[in-house]
């Protein structure tokens, strides 16, 4: 009897379940981490012949190189529309493209009008559209600017394609060796020489506003620190003390320069007030203290010291005071560079005979090695914090490379010089 009742009950319950009128919600908790598929259709050239720069090609290269996007090669495109009316979204949906960029370049009395549109392929609507005017010489810059706009719109991060990088090259002609301080676009194009000397040039450092570069020059046989304004080429010697004058680093407000001086004997960290020219000695150890770098909020300075026997990173208040060791793993940790958000530090991490770029999480102090070279050096954060630029070499060839913070994305920048060191990404 109870058996019978149970059967009936089961029947009733199962009847009622599907009859609920509450609308279903499907939860999506997993996604994929992959580059966003985007198609940059070659821009139409209406009345523009012999445009000096292929803008869409530069944009495609920028986005593709960033690692955040997977661009579609021209041969695979179902069509090459240059106007919104010509776009058939279904075609692009069919090949799994999330985004589409089309554009046009028109010449107007030696000036170029560049316009582009970014579409959401699945929604079938425009996300962004711009029209800009550029001289022939600025077309590449314009293209990088477009890349930045697209990048920021789709990733939420500021693009770094318009940024510039400073670096030191050296070349040899006979017995004569020449050292150059150069600045180029972030993709290595448009290299310009800022300073040149038969004596070594070293340690370029961008001012926070990106208008000046501080660097070390041995042009007078002894080391001195100069600050040079890029736009005018005007330069000032700010430190010429006996012994070492090295490793300049701008305070975030641009008013001070941290540097290494050995005028009192051993190399120590000093802060030079650029307005008052007053000099403050921060470290007083008998060991080598060098390579100071400011935290983004200006409150701390991280530097390299061999007081423990091997070079390791230490941190102290930018006002001076207690110095605390930061790094403990590996026998060599040097050349610190703060991320723009101050949450991590990039460094050269030496283990055995290998020197690689590592990132330390400031909160957990965990160190993550992100490159696999043998002599990687001079890490410098991109202004959006997404990548680290560093110098490396393979055989006799030196080159610059950019790596994502997790080490997964790596891009090699090709320059004409074989001897290239100390890159610094502009703010």
């Amino acid at each position: 009897m109870s058996f019978f009742r149970k059967i009936l009950l089961i029947g009733l319950v199962s009847f009622y379940v599907p009859s609920s009128y509450a609308e279903m919600t499907i939860e999506i908790t997993e996604g994929i981490e992959s580059a966003l598929p985007i198609s940059i259709v070659p821009f139409g050239m209406q009345g523009a012949s012999g445009v000096p720069v292929d803008v869409s090609f530069v944009v495609d290269a920028d986005l593709g190189r960033s690692g955040y996007f997977k661009t579609l090669d021209k041969q695979s495109m179902p069509a090459k529309p240059s106007t919104a009316e010509a776009v058939q979204f279904k075609d692009w949906q069919a090949i799994g493209q999330n985004y589409l960029v089309i554009g046009q370049v028109t010449e107007d009395h030696g000036q170029y009008n560049v316009q582009f549109q970014l579409f959401d392929v699945y929604k079938g609507e425009q996300i962004m559209g711009y029209r800009m005017t550029s001289s022939a010489g600025d077309l590449r810059r314009t293209a990088h600017h477009i890349s930045d706009l697209i990048f920021e719109k789709l990733t939420g991060k500021k693009g770094v394609f318009s940024g510039r990088i400073a670096y030191i090259t050296s070349s040899r002609q006979g017995k004569q060796s020449t050292s150059k301080l150069q600045v180029s676009d972030a993709d290595g194009f448009n290299a310009q020489t800022i300073a040149s000397s038969v004596e070594p040039l070293m340690s370029p450092a961008w001012s926070p506003d990106g208008r000046k570069i501080a660097y070390v020059s041995f042009e007078k046989k002894t080391a001195a620190i100069y600050i040079q304004t890029l736009a005018t080429g005007e330069r000032a010697r700010v430190a010429e003390f006996p012994g070492i004058n090295g490793a300049p680093s701008w305070s975030p407000d641009g008013a001070k320069l941290a540097l290494t001086l050995s005028k009192d004997g051993s190399p120590d960290i000093y802060v030079l007030n650029l307005v008052t020219r007053s000099l403050t000695k921060l470290t007083k150890s008998f060991s080598i203290d060098t390579e100071p770098t400011w935290s983004p909020d200006g409150s701390h300075i991280v530097f390299t010291s061999d007081r423990g026997g091997k070079p390791q990173l230490y941190i102290m208040s930018s006002q001076g005071g207690e110095e605390t060791r930061l790094t403990f793993s590996g026998n060599y940790n040097a050349r610190a560079s703060f991320s723009p958000d101050g949450k991590s530090i990039a460094m050269v991490h030496g283990n055995g005979s290998d020197y690689r770029i590592a990132v330390m999480d400031m909160a957990t102090k965990s160190v993550n090695v992100i490159t696999d070279g043998r002599s990687d050096e001079s890490p410098s954060f991109a202004p959006n914090g997404s990548m680290i630029l560093y110098a490396s070499r393979k055989g006799n060839a030196g080159y610059l490379s950019a790596v994502s913070l997790d080490g997964k994305m790596q891009q090699k920048l090709v320059f004409d010089s074989n001897e290239i060191r100390e890159p610094a990404w502009s703010p």
Binding site: M24, T25, I26, I28, T29, N98, T155
Partner: protein, 348 residues
């Protein structure tokens, strides 16, 4: 009760038999004991008395006989002497000269005669002695014989006594062995009885258990039959309910399967934005055609991050057509309109 009686009667009988046997053995041993004592004392006394008597009585008899034997040779010698007297008288008559001679001869003869007599006497003496000696030897031999016989008798008596003793001992041992064997047999019988009893009890228990099991099986079978009958009686109603349930279940299963497939397809289409900070989630309302094609996907609850929202919308669109159930009616009913919740933190 019967078995109980049986149980006790056997050991009691055996015990009684054992006791009686033991008592009988005691009685037998008591009977044999005085015999044993006599036979033990007798041999020594008999031996001593027999030896003394023979030595005392028999030699006297022996000496009496030799005396007679010596008398008869003396009588026989008287006759020869008278013959010699008659001859000497004739010789006196015949020749007086010869008288001296004769006298001499007589003397000679007499001497000779004396000598003979002496020899005779000596011989007699010797014979007598020899006879006596023989007598003694004879007596001695007889005595020895007797002693020997007596000794033999004593020996026999002793042997007899010993045999009796041995026999008694043997009988005693036999009795003891018998008693022991009896006891062992009784013990064995007792043990056997006990084990048989235990066996019987065990068998009984097993039988009872088997009976109970059988009864239980029987009862279960009866219960099963009853339940089966009941179930069969409910069959019609059950079938009806089952059909309805199965239909509903099938629908539920189809819905579940489709929901899982949709979830998977959308998740695979969702490229999570790298800029997404923790805690972002958004809800998207979708409308579908019956074949699963997305008509529209609208953010109804924003994450606050347009890039996150767009990535979610994009994922839904990119996954179109969604794998809805093949049953168009069910698809239209259940998947015409529903929501997606994009919540990556749930997987962390």
């Amino acid at each position: 009760m019967d078995s109980n009686k049986k149980k006790f009667s056997w050991p009691i009988i055996l015990a009684l038999a054992l006791h009686l046997t033991i008592l009988g053995l005691f009685a037998l041993s008591a009977l044999f004991k005085p015999d044993k004592r006599e036979s033990e004392a007798a041999p020594e006394i008999i031996h001593a008395e027999i030896v003394d008597e023979s030595k005392v009585k028999n030699p006297a008899e022996v000496t009496a006989e030799p005396v007679k034997a010596t008398e008869s040779p003396v009588e026989e010698k008287i006759n020869p002497e008278t013959e010699a007297n008659q001859e000497a008288e004739r010789a006196i008559e015949q020749a007086k000269a010869e008288k001296t001679k004769a006298a001499a001869e007589q003397a000679k003869a007499e001497a000779k005669q004396a000598e003979v007599a002496k020899a005779k006497a000596e011989a007699a003496e010797q014979a007598k002695a020899e006879a006596k000696q023989a007598e003694i030897a004879k007596a001695k031999a007889e005595a020895a014989e007797q002693a020997k016989a007596e000794a033999k008798q004593a020996e026999i008596a002793k042997a007899k006594a010993e045999a009796a003793k041995a026999k008694a001992a043997a009988e005693k041992a036999e009795a003891a062995a018998k008693a022991k064997a009896e006891a062992e047999r009784a013990e064995a019988a007792k043990a056997k009885a006990a084990s048989e009893q235990a066996e019987a009890a065990k068998a009984k228990a097993a039988a009872e258990k088997a009976e109970a099991a059988k009864a239980k099986v029987e009862a279960e079978r009866a219960e099963a039959a009853r339940v089966k009958a009941e179930a069969e009686r409910a069959e019609a109603a059950r079938m009806e309910a089952e059909q309805a349930r199965m239909d509903a279940e099938q629908d539920q299963l189809a819905i579940k399967t489709a929901a899982a497939a949709i979830r998977q397809k959308v998740a695979q289409s969702w490229i999570r934005p790298v800029s997404a900070t923790e805690g972002l989630k958004c809800t998207i309302q979708v409308r579908l055609m019956s074949d699963g094609t997305v008509i529209d996907a609208v953010v109804v609850t924003s994450s606050g991050d347009p890039i996150f929202d767009r990535s979610a919308e994009n994922a839904v669109h990119k996954a179109s057509p969604l794998p809805v159930p093949k049953d168009k009616e069910l698809s239209a009913k259940e998947f015409k309109s529903f929501k997606f919740l994009f919540d990556p933190d749930r997987s962390r």
